[in-house]
């Protein structure tokens, strides 16, 4: 079995697939790729099932040595690896894929034909960094086996991926407490705060006044925008808490989860209100692009 040797891991590189579903009622959120579109595209390009585990690098990449020949694809943001993105590439034994600080968004995926062959506790290879379910971020010296689970031939390079690249606008449907708010969220521009992570993207901007209503703690969805008493919104992200007690004026749409995964500290974002029908049409368009690969 061919392997990847981790020469330098980068600050937070983890194995991710599309997430560990079915355990939220036990308190475990799905985790999974922060930019699911980039992961799925990368997997389709190298001939994997779209849910195959791959490496997710965050803000700064690492150095990974392949001890055999391999077919890889880098997707998401440009981390300066000197290789074309969104393109299947055949590499020779001994190749070191080395990347550096991002030149665009927050995440870059290294997908390998055959997938990463790690255990799938509770049905998924995804690392849930906060709880340690599924493992931990990579360290120098880790050796990662490459699987043999390719399902088709590699595809030609992807076109049209720029549709995923504008991350300054987040389309959102009304949240469960939308009527408690007067549209403040959509009126302002927010900056992504440094302390954002896979649990939540913290935004800084004009404070949203606390609404008067009292709510019971309730289940929360990926992409929910919650407003705590300080008025600074938090977008719940892939490792979000499973329940929460703060009101939610909006929820980022599924088609923009890829944008959430690419947001990095100091990025500026605006919210645009859409209906559920519009959200589903945008998702449909994105799925059509994905399956055109």
């Amino acid at each position: 079995m061919n392997r990847i040797h981790v020469l330098a891991p980068g600050p937070e590189t983890t194995v991710q697939d599309l997430g560990r579903f079915g355990w939220a009622h036990c308190g475990v959120s799905a985790s999974g790729a922060a930019d699911p579109l980039a992961l799925r595209a990368g997997n389709l390009l190298v001939g994997n099932a779209e849910n195959a585990p791959a490496l997710e690098m965050t803000l700064v990449g690492g150095a990974f040595e392949f001890d055999g020949t391999a077919v890889i694809a880098l997707t998401g943001s440009d981390f300066g690896a000197g290789l074309p993105l969104w393109t299947p590439i055949e590499i020779a034994a001994g190749t070191v894929v080395r990347s550096a600080a991002t030149r665009s968004g927050a995440r870059c995926y290294l997908c390998v034909r055959g997938g990463i062959a790690v255990a799938k506790p509770m049905g998924s290879a995804s690392v849930h960094v906060t709880t340690g379910v599924g493992g931990r971020p990579l360290r120098k010296g880790d050796v990662i086996p490459i699987g043999e689970d390719a399902v088709r031939r590699p595809r030609p390079a992807a076109r049209g991926f720029e549709l995923a690249e504008d991350r300054g606008t987040l389309r959102a449907t009304p949240g469960p407490q939308a009527e408690w708010f007067a549209g403040e969220l959509h009126a302002a521009e927010y900056a992504v705060a440094e302390e954002s992570n896979r649990i939540g993207l913290r935004l800084r901007g004009p404070a949203i006044p606390s609404p008067a209503g009292h709510m019971l703690t309730e289940g929360v969805a990926l992409g929910a925008v919650q407003v705590p008493p300080d008025g600074q919104p938090i977008i719940l992200f892939v490792e979000h808490q499973t329940t929460g007690g703060y009101p939610k004026p909006a929820n980022v749409i599924s088609a923009d989860f890829c944008r959430l995964g690419q947001l990095r500290p100091r990025d500026r974002v605006r919210f645009e209100s859409v209906t559920i029908e519009q959200a589903l049409r945008l998702l449909q368009k994105q799925e059509e692009w994905l399956y055109s690969l």
Partner: protein, 258 residues
């Protein structure tokens, strides 16, 4: 047959709020038939929470009767194709589904069908979990404050806390935190004004009218009255948290921690 009739959420996905009378007694295989005229009343609200999730609320009260509906709906939807995750809470269940398989109106139909078919929850079948607790001292830094708040001796707080039986309302928040119902009302104590930056794993706590135990070290604002040595969260276990929704819980005072 119990029926929940709600308006369709409609194409625009607007919230519908239909006061419901569930107007027939449950016919249950094990429990005796309830006397005629025993009516339950819930405000059932079904609305989209996102383009891939539906929030079903049984009103805004915390009560055992409401909680049984939460457990019932959660169990009824476990393993249903296209349902990705269920988030039960005090009086609601949030349902994440795969938007490529289901839409909101199909999900709402599933909710109604499965909920009806599930029948009432049999509480007698719930598991009882006993947690040994070392109360007070360094393990329970807020025990004295809780006692002072209620004008009782710390020993009385322990006696009341360990004398009650609790039920896990749900497991949630950030680190599989079990929210326990059944705290004796005399022990209800407001949360700390400023949350602690880190609460040790196993801390046994009171937050308002609820009890809880911190499964992992985390920030927290509940009053810490003791600690259990039991491992409440094991990332290798399936599922990782020891306590599950619907479990019965008792606390047993111990003198030392292993």
């Amino acid at each position: 047959m119990i029926t929940i009739a709600t308006d369709s959420i409609g194409a625009a996905g607007h919230k519908s709020r239909i006061p419901e009378i569930i107007n027939a007694p449950a016919v249950h295989e094990r429990a005796p038939r309830r006397p005629l005229g025993c009516y339950y009343r819930f405000d059932v609200t079904i609305r989209p929470a996102s383009d891939r999730s539906l929030l079903v609320s049984f009103g805004d009260e915390i009560s055992p009767a409401v909680h049984r509906q939460v457990v019932r709906l959660t169990q009824a939807l476990l393993g249903v194709r296209g349902v990705l995750n269920l988030h039960p809470a005090f009086a609601s269940v949030s349902i994440d589904f795969d938007p490529r398989r289901l839409d909101h109106s199909a999900m709402e139909t599933l909710v109604r069908e499965r909920f009806e078919a599930a029948g009432e929850i049999d509480r007698g079948a719930a598991r009882l979990v006993e947690l040994p607790v070392r109360y007070g001292g360094e393990y329970g830094p807020d025990l004295e404050d809780v006692a002072r708040h209620h004008g009782m001796a710390p020993e009385r707080v322990i006696e009341l806390h360990a004398g009650a039986e609790y039920e896990v309302w749900f497991v949630g928040f950030a680190t599989c935190f079990p929210y326990l119902g059944g705290l004796p009302p005399q022990l209800a104590t407001p949360r700390l004004d400023a949350p602690r930056k880190s609460v040790p794993a196993g801390s046994v706590a009171i937050g308002g009218s609820h009890a809880g135990v911190y499964p992992l070290a985390s920030p927290g604002g509940w009053r810490i009255i003791g600690r259990t040595p039991l491992r409440l969260f094991d990332p290798e276990a399936v599922p990782p948290p020891l306590l599950h929704m619907g479990d019965r819980v008792r606390f047993r005072p111990v003198e030392t921690l292993p």
